[in-house]
Symmetry: C2
Subunit: 342 residues, 2 copies
């Protein structure tokens, strides 16, 4: 099916475009009244993730309501550890929690990986197929996965953490088991993303949410090589890598075979383009808190951001949109981009 | 009283020294069995902070046990909001919690500030005087305070947070009240640090623990000017500014009239010295998790760090030492530095 709006894909491929495309990380979520209504009628977050027609419904909600240039499949990065044998729960107001965590190399050896385990995630592929059909080519569909280091950190830590010191300790204490686990996560992620693409994803994003917690030498050893494997393996569609907080690895990220790099709200585009000679298309990076400001400030900051990036740019926030963001300001952000002309 | 070991002060002043000095952020704390024994006999963390002879005792413990080149007064950055009228509690395993928070400009106006309120903190000054006397000039005594933005963030948020979105929202929604509050915190902090110096502090450190959560334009507007006021006001002793995660503001930090800049474990010294032409003495930045590695790795990484900095350097971790760090590895870290010769 041909896309009616392929601006995101043309931009990701580096083509000259009429304006930047725009979407928001976490656009399918609590900012939308439709989402809150549906979510309130369910037993929990995982029911929504695991029920394909519901996941498809919330994926499409922001396309209807916000008129963004892309849909991103509603899911969670932690379906990967679950498929590998480590189940998680989503605790209300607390976040993810793993009853069992990885503590040794024997735990790592017990985990499944690669194509063998992604059959567990048929519900994700079904959600993509339904979404694709229901979108009817209105906008591209983004598939996503967590980066190996970020998935690793949850599998070791068992939950979110301010320091992720358990996960980081393991890197120092058992680098063999660490690499073995990262390799297994990577194989699984590649198989998963490929199946997502077969199921309808037009582009994929890899989220390295906890990139910024590692020192540069560890990011180089334990994160970059696995991101590289993923980027090298995915040649069907463009790849976006968002390594939040990993400004120190700009040089290494710039060498990845991905078309787009995500930029968090702490990073100045000039530091990437000029100081580190980053050539990829960039995605980001309005401060999510900026959407709490006045409508006028939102509009002016959005225009300022577009000017700062100066092309080769996908408009987004520098992080997921916060749940209590005023919907009108989200719309101002989106519409400001949509009315822009290069 | 003359100091028997003034290596930290000579280094901070930019003098040529025989080896780098070494101390650890949070060295007075749970890594030491002596601390855990004393802490276990008390009702809570605040009793320790507010009882001068006990605060002095734990301040000196790491000098005895680890043989570090400095003592840092045992206290908490949140005594400042408390003196201004906003009390906090320290909840076991959760961290600080403020029963009341700042929600509007009228809340800000009600707060006390400056020299008028620091009488509330006599217990801190007493702790410094006792420590100074009991140290008998063995090593310099470090006084400290939170940076205005970090103190502000707790006063708005009421506790630690992953995003500090409440505090950041306030910056966007009421910049007048924000500046008023930051100004009040700054006045109080200056009066507080000056009294700490009169009570015996040989050098002071300002901790901007949540620097890294702000976008560059906000750090420039809401953090840098207040750090500048503090640095300009303190001319009695050297000043260390540790703006964790604020690599994006390296240029602005390099212009502060402080003698030392703290460096977190994510930051490469070459990015500061070469890309941003930072001239100050630097303090840091071993990854705290490195101290979970083998003794040999700790030793080699410490030597590598000293080589990377290449002088004008105070050895420390890139963050506070984690409570479960093996004491032997802390000693290996300290002794490796102490046995080094430039």
């Amino acid at each position: 099916m041909n896309l009616k709006n392929d601006l995101l894909l043309r931009t990701a491929k580096g083509e000259k475009v009429e304006r930047p495309p725009v979407w928001l990380m976490r656009q399918a979520g609590r900012i939308l009244p439709q989402y809150r209504a549906l979510r309130g009628s369910l037993s929990g977050f995982k029911e929504l993730v695991e029920t394909p027609h519901l996941a498809a419904e919330v994926t499409i909600q922001p396309v209807d309501e916000l008129n963004v240039d892309a849909a991103i499949i509603f899911s969670d990065i932690l379906v990967i550890p679950e498929a590998m044998g480590l189940t998680y729960e989503m605790v209300e107001k607390k976040g993810p929690w793993f009853p069992k965590t990885i503590e040794s190399i024997s735990d790592v050896k017990k985990l499944g990986s690669g194509e063998n385990v992604i059959g567990e995630l048929q519900y994700v592929f079904d959600a993509l197929a339904i979404t694709k059909k229901e979108l009817g080519g209105r906008v591209p569909l983004i598939g996503f996965a967590g980066a190996p280091w970020t998935i690793f950190s949850y599998m070791l830590e068992g939950s979110g953490s301010k320091t992720f010191s358990k996960a980081r300790k393991f890197l120092y204490q058992d680098s063999i088991a660490s690499h073995m686990l990262l390799e297994k996560i990577t194989e699984t992620t590649i198989a998963y993303l490929k199946q997502k693409i077969k199921s309808g994803a037009d582009i994929v994003q890899v989220f390295d949410s906890w990139a910024g917690i590692l020192p540069p030498h560890q990011y180089k050893e334990f994160a970059i090589p696995y991101l590289k494997k993923i980027c090298d393996a995915i040649d069907e569609v463009p790849v976006i890598v968002f390594a939040k907080g990993a400004w120190f690895a700009a040089a290494e990220l710039s060498e990845l075979d991905c078309q787009v790099l995500g930029v968090d709200w702490n990073t100045k585009v000039s530091d990437l383009r000029e100081k580190n000679n980053v050539q990829q298309v960039l995605q980001g990076n309005l401060d999510p808190c900026m959407l709490y400001a006045s409508e006028e400030t939102v509009r002016n900051s959005t225009l300022q951001m577009i000017a700062d990036f100066g092309g080769k740019h996908i408009c987004n926030l520098g992080h997921g949109v916060y749940p209590d963001t005023p919907l009108d300001n989200v719309k101002t952000f989106v519409n400001t981009v949509k009315n822009y002309k290069y």
